[in-house]
């Protein structure tokens, strides 16, 4: 038992810190710290900085231009990025599609798509969810009908994150309507410039445009854009979902959020003293910090086991639940700390310019973030689904 990083791990951390000190643009880290959107340009700029260093694909093998870091290194990198308020890596091409193509794609697909993910030429988005199939993915209804050497796609996807920036989409489509739920599904790569695709914005309850509906009307996709075998898409989808689960605990986000709440609570005055000294607020803050300290160790335990080659089991479902509860609790504390300043809807603050705002620093985005992050326990496999999984695995033999 040793809770400390090894000398090699500490050296790696120092390397990451130095890189972030030197290369992370302050306009981007300011925006992230203040909860503002960095837009398409910001994401692309940060990706290209990472790519220049060779650090854009921590989980890819070296052969494809990745870092081949182990779980502990990836954790250190993510932790330091959060601490430095670096933008998150947009995951659709890098974390989700990349590993699927590496494992199940054809040589041609790998050669064509992987470099373009790294270069930023392709911005991918995800076509999984459908209206009427939220956590119940297997019930999807978007149809792909073979017509010569094309599939013809009709249907609708939803909750497509940052689809407004994307030029490619990977989709689950039903290729065999008679098969049972999870069978008869295929995994297709679709150029979003193809005629018949329409992207419609979904405005979220905090006023942001993060997600979209994507409508397909007689969209023709060449058969060579099928990944793996027809009707085997569910296998690839499950593989993708497993990979999506890295950093599922969100420890770094929570840590950065907690630091922000502490700053705010030291600034906000309550009866002439900093709010941080109020025993009730201090108790709420301490309690979530204690929960986070424990979860960070749970996270490290799983990462350490993963680095030693063990496959994560039901623990990732536990981390998803506890991790989102903690992040949401921190968002709740931030809105409490802001007092009456949680009320204004400073939508301009989210998009960049807050020069004409009269709000104290750090209060402009607290309500929007509180509401926006209610999604954490809904998307990515709702917390109810995670609990079903935990109970099934742990009680499985018995019930």
């Amino acid at each position: 038992m040793d809770l400390n990083y090894s000398a090699e791990e500490l050296a790696f951390r120092e390397e990451v810190r130095e890189f972030l000190r030197e290369e992370l643009p302050t306009d981007l880290s300011d925006a992230v710290r203040e909860g503002r959107s960095i837009g398409k340009e910001g994401h692309e700029r940060w990706h290209s900085i990472l790519n220049a260093r060779g650090w854009l694909a921590p989980n890819w093998p070296r052969a494809y231009g990745g870092c081949a870091w182990n779980a502990v290194q990836r954790h250190i990198f993510e932790e330091e990025c959060c601490r430095a308020h670096a933008p998150r890596i947009v995951p659709f091409g890098l974390t989700m599609l990349g590993p699927v193509l590496q494992k199940f794609g054809s040589d041609a697909q790998r050669d064509y798509f992987l470099p373009r993910i790294l270069s930023g030429e392709h911005w991918w988005c995800q076509g999984y969810s459908e209206p009427g199939a939220g956590s119940d993915l297997a019930s999807l209804r978007t149809r792909a009908v073979r017509d010569g050497d094309h599939y013809v796609i009709n249907g609708q996807k939803t909750w497509t994150t940052l689809g407004q920036y994307a030029n490619w989409i990977f989709c689950l489509v039903r290729t065999d309507p008679d098969a049972k739920q999870q069978e008869g599904i295929s995994f297709l790569l679709i150029d979003m410039d193809t005629p018949g695709i329409e992207v419609r914005p979904i405005i979220l309850l905090d006023g942001t445009h993060e997600v979209n509906e994507v409508w397909f009307t007689d969209v023709r996709v060449p058969v060579e854009n099928l990944v793996g075998e027809e009707n085997q898409g569910w296998t690839y989808a499950k593989y993708l979902l497993t990979h999506e689960r890295t950093n599922i605990a969100g420890v770094g986000f929570s840590q950065a959020g907690l630091d922000a709440v502490k700053r705010l609570a030291r600034q906000q005055m309550h009866r002439g003293r900093p709010l941080a000294e109020n025993p009730h607020f201090a108790a709420r803050l301490a309690q979530v910090e204690i929960d986070l300290m424990a979860m960070a160790t749970t996270n490290l335990r799983i990462i350490s086991a993963a680095a030693a080659g063990q496959a994560p089991g039901v623990e990732s479902s536990m981390l998803k639940v506890k991790g989102t509860e903690i992040r949401q609790e921190i968002n709740d504390l931030a809105r409490r700390a802001a007092g009456a300043y949680a009320m204004p809807f400073a939508s301009e603050a989210l998009e960049g310019d807050n020069s004409n705002l009269a709000q104290p620093e750090g209060t402009a985005a607290v309500s929007a973030q509180y509401f926006n992050n209610r999604k954490l326990s809904i998307f990515g496999g709702s917390n109810e689904i995670q609990k079903n999984i935990i109970a099934k695995v742990k009680l499985g033999g018995r019930t």
Binding site: A340, Q359, P360, S367, F371, R374, S377, I378, S382
Partner: protein
């Protein structure tokens, strides 16, 4: 002991509910929200015509109500319909302040208010006051026969649409003294007043207001010089009863939307309301809703009591509703899933009303501290 509404209040409730069901559609609400002043003037006029504004004020100033249960009856309905019009600010907060002026200076304004022709805002909170009721740094200094105001007011709800502000300012004493506070009626277009308005997350508007040597005649003072603390506390008490009831109404709608959704939304081949884990969570929501209803009754029923008793029940109600409201809003979103995250679906509006209500006049912890202090006293 009697928990029935009086016949008059029952009629008022019925007619208000009918009016809002007919006229206050989601489209109307969106129109109200997107207006630069944060509400729709024609809805305001109709509320006045219905007699809703008068029902919130006592008879001796021309109203026909003003008791705790009048407030709770009206605001529960406004909350159920998700109304964003500034009834609380103009009629309850400012109306109560004007009505309690012993000299009756506000009589003409109240008349206009009840008729729907006047909009008001109470400029009271400040950057450092947080939720303290008498923490006022803004100064009012005599300058001959005039008064000069210097200071800044924060998150003044309804300022952008208001004709006048009622401004609290200190004529003497330290920042949090009971003594030394006065109230002044100020035209929002007065010179020396700078206003930066912003939309509110849950609808309506609020402004940061700077008073830069704003000069008003001393006749603008409402109530006793340096002795406005009790007026302020009484008006805040009425506003808190109204806000608690409004939040209760929004909680009812959020719960109802959730139950409707669970009955229609299919997943894994059956309505999601047939899943026991979700059923038990709905049961918990319904239990909390009954608790909130009782808390509002307790607060409304003690509004006419002496201040310490009044405020203890109000603090209790507001603390309970902050907790129950958070639970219901968050559970309603979670049980809906993705659709609840969209601005388009009605639940979003109700969740915001519920959560952000906690940020007016004191959050759960502040109310708990007040309750503890008032219980010890």
């Amino acid at each position: 002991m009697n928990f029935q509404l009086s016949e008059e209040r029952q009629m008022m409730q019925d007619s208000l509910r009918r009016f809002l069901a007919d006229r206050y559609s989601a489209a109307q609400r969106d129109e109200s929200v997107s207006n630069a002043i944060g509400f729709a003037p024609q809805i305001w006029a109709q509320l006045a015509d219905l007699g809703i504004l008068g029902a919130l004020l006592p008879e001796d100033v021309g109203g026909y109500g003003g008791k705790g249960f009048d407030l709770s009856t009206v605001f529960e309905e406004l909350g159920r319909a998700g109304v964003v019009e500034p009834v609380l600010d103009t009629a309850v907060l400012c109306g109560t302040l004007l009505a309690s002026d012993p000299q009756g200076k506000g009589a003409a304004l109240i008349e206009g208010l009840i008729a729907g022709n006047v909009q008001l805002a109470f400029a009271h909170g400040e950057v450092n006051s947080r939720y303290e009721r008498l923490w006022v740094e803004t100064r009012a200094s005599a300058y001959g026969d005039d008064i000069v105001l210097i200071g800044r007011k924060s998150v003044v709800v309804n300022a952008a649409g208001a004709d006048h502000l009622i401004v609290s300012a200190r004529e003497s004493g330290d920042t949090d003294d009971r003594e030394g506070l006065s109230l002044f009626l100020v035209d929002t277009k007065a010179e020396g007043l700078q206003m930066r308005s912003s939309a509110l997350m849950a609808g309506g508007c609020a402004a940061e207001i700077d008073f830069d040597n704003l000069r008003i005649p001393s006749s603008a003072r409402i109530g006793p010089a340096g002795g406005a603390s009790e007026m302020i506390e009484a008006a805040l008490a009425a506003a808190e009863v109204a806000l608690a009831a409004e939040t209760l109404g929004a909680m009812e709608t959020a719960t109802q939307l959730t139950m409707d959704y669970l009955g229609t939304r299919q997943q894994f081949g059956r309505p999601i309301g047939s899943f026991q884990a979700l059923q038990h969570r709905v049961a918990d929501m319904l239990i909390e809703l009954e608790q909130a209803r009782s808390a509002v009754i307790n607060a409304a029923g003690h509004l006419e009591e002496q201040p310490a008793v009044r405020d203890r029940h109000i603090a209790a109600a507001r603390n309970l509703i902050a907790r129950a409201g958070r639970k219901i809003a968050e559970e309603a979103i979670q049980l809906h899933g993705g659709i609840a995250m969209t601005a388009e679906y009605e639940l979003a509006h109700f969740a915001k009303r519920i959560i952000l209500a906690e940020h007016r006049f004191g959050d759960a912890d502040t109310q708990l501290e007040r309750f503890i202090d008032l219980s010890a006293a």
